[in-house]
């Protein structure tokens, strides 16, 4: 095994740990909605929410990086350039994440000054990590991009997937620098901040997961490289074509000119179309293989990725993306519902597929099946669909009573908090969150048990051979 692949496994392990941390803080955040006095003046809701959302970004990012370190040496048949530096930075990355989480938990917030920005919280939603840590993440991203580009250059060989990946890594790294500016004008600040958040999530990350899924399909079912690459080009063109200017749906209510209504609404409405193409592709491939693959968990999580992306991003997104609807729905639990299902479908399922594929390959487990992964698959997806459904009901209730009827006043907000539909939905979300957490526990158990299963399989084979 290459050093880069060992590093990839470390990143995937760290990603799983962060996935768990994200679930813990998500559950914590959901308790505040049903018990508003929970941990009052000890641990605020806002901090739990910060760790939950930043944890989401970090677990997915670590999963992507781990997947690429896993596949890259196999793609080029050589060790990754600058792997020593990448190994050092992995530990720096983990230490930085741990310190930031400890500071978020125990310090939480500080005065509105430079010191707080550098050492406690940068104060920008989704990229709250203090500035020193943000600079560390930029360094990790820079070295990661260098690893991929330098290895390809030194190998004097490139493939379609690598070319797309390299073209994507440049904006991915550059856009992260958008986490740094300090602007006192809120509209200007949000205008540029959305470049980071939207263009990462709905453009560069989509391409990144497209490349990772292309490699996954080649290794998982032996898909033809020509087919996978041709389809990758089509999907990348469609996703970028609709996703980049789909950015406009975040510009509806932040003080930008009116033409963003038309641009944002139009391109956002087109965003589900390439996702339907992905569903067709997934069904075609699954049918061609008769739903059979040597690594069944990875295969099913890959399928879940295509369907989840269509439902979470496509269906949920289209419901609330036109300006007339978005006027009432933005910032409600409706948005949270869309966010949960879209992130899960588009990225979460894909990272879990790679986890199963990489660990099975690393442990020499040629065939992977069993019962535990089915439980984990069912519990995680039931939990996520249940949480998103509950949040959707709460969000529609909010948009209807608090926004459209109540006129978004403070009084409407407070009376909304007491409405039965809203409260019952929050309880349902907590219950489904617990189901999701159980699914995660089974997933971790199953991943840990893979080497044991290989030994058991080998013993069975040896017994059968001896018997014959």
């Amino acid at each position: 095994m290459y050093r880069a692949q060992r590093l990839g496994l470390k990143y995937l392990t760290a990603s799983t740990v962060m996935f768990g941390a994200m679930i813990v803080f998500g559950l914590l955040a959901s308790i505040y909605y049903v018990r508003p006095g929970f941990m009052l003046n000890t641990f605020n809701f806002s901090t739990a929410k910060i760790v939950h959302i930043d944890g989401l970004v970090i677990w997915l990012l670590m999963g992507f990086i781990g997947a690429i370190y896993w596949f890259l040496p196999q793609e080029l048949d050589r060790e990754v350039e600058g792997i020593g530096l990448a190994e050092v930075l992995f530990w720096v990355f983990c230490a930085a994440v741990a310190v930031v989480v400890v500071v978020f938990i125990f310090v939480q917030y500080g005065a509105a000054n430079e010191w707080s920005m550098w050492f406690i919280n940068q104060g920008r939603k989704y990229v709250e990590a203090p500035r020193w840590a943000a600079m560390g993440i930029a360094a990790v991203a820079g070295v990661f991009a260098y690893n991929v580009i330098a290895t390809t250059v030194v190998a004097r060989k490139s493939t379609g997937i690598l070319t797309v990946l390299i073209a994507d890594l440049v904006p991915l790294v550059l856009l992260y620098f958008d986490a740094f500016p300090e602007m006192t004008n809120m509209s200007q600040d949000l205008f540029w901040w959305w470049w980071l958040v939207h263009l990462w999530v709905e453009a560069t990350w989509e391409v990144l997961i497209g490349c990772i899924m292309a490699w996954t399909l080649i290794h998982l079912v032996g898909a033809s490289r020509r087919v996978v690459e041709s389809w990758l080009y089509v999907e990348v063109a469609l996703v970028l074509g609709t996703g980049i200017l789909g950015l406009g749906h975040h510009y509806f209510w932040i003080g930008t000119p009116r033409y963003w209504f038309a641009i944002g609404g139009f391109f956002s409405a087109l965003e589900p179309l390439p996702l339907l193409g992905m569903v067709v592709h997934a069904v075609y491939d699954a049918g061609e293989r008769h739903l059979q693959a040597a690594n069944r968990p990875a295969f099913y999580w890959t399928l879940a990725e295509a369907f989840g992306n269509f439902i979470g991003a496509g269906v949920w997104g289209f419901m609330m993306t036109l300006p007339q609807i978005n006027l009432y729905s933005h910032g409600t639990q409706w948005t949270a519902s869309h966010g949960h299902l879209a992130f899960w479908g588009a990225y979460g399922c894909g990272v879990i597929a790679v986890l199963y594929l990489a660990i099975a390959q690393a442990r020499g487990c040629e065939r992977l099946d069993g019962t535990a992964w089915k439980w984990s698959f069912a519990l995680l997806n039931t939990g996520m669909v249940g949480m998103s459904g509950a949040l959707l009901v709460a969000g529609i209730d909010q948009a209807f009573f608090e926004r459209a009827i109540g006129g978004s006043t403070w009084n409407a907000y407070l009376s909304m908090e007491g409405r039965p539909w809203f409260n019952e939905s929050m309880w349902a979300r907590l219950a489904f969150g617990l189901i999701f957490a159980c699914g995660f526990a089974v997933l971790v158990y199953d991943l840990i048990a893979i080497p044991k299963r290989r030994e058991a399989g080998a013993r069975e084979e040896a017994t059968a051979a001896a018997g014959s």
């Binding site: 032996g222 067709v280 948009a399």
Partner: protein, 116 residues
């Protein structure tokens, strides 16, 4: 837009995409297994898609431009499954240059463990 119209419009827009997805899924499964029942189900989904687009045009207070966009989207949802299917079939026919999946996976494992 009234509160009731807002909720009704949002739900119809969501249902439109669900119908598009159901049509895509059923169209592919019907083609894969050559099942007339699934073929009928896919045509029913397509009908639901058209009916929802018509309902959005007739019943919601969206402006003309957005209604035109909904109609264009519905047409795209109807066109994407057969077009993608044809493209994929042609691509797979011309792209069977790789070895069979089981052989490929076995080779990858052997290579990996020789290195380890």
């Amino acid at each position: 837009m009234s509160p009731h119209a807002m909720v009704a419009t949002a739900l119809m827009l969501g249902a439109l995409v669900v119908a598009g997805g159901a049509y895509g899924l059923l169209y592919c499964v019907a083609r894969l297994y050559g099942s007339p029942i699934l073929g009928a189900a896919s045509r029913t989904s397509c009908g639901a898609l058209v009916a929802l687009a018509a309902a959005i045009v007739a019943l919601t207070p969206l402006h003309f431009g957005w209604k035109a966009l909904v109609v264009a989207s519905a047409m795209a949802y109807m066109g994407i499954p057969p077009i993608t299917w044809r493209y994929l079939t042609r691509l797979h026919r011309g792209g069977n240059d790789a070895s069979r999946p089981a052989e490929h996976a076995h080779r990858a494992h052997t290579r990996l463990h020789r290195r380890a």
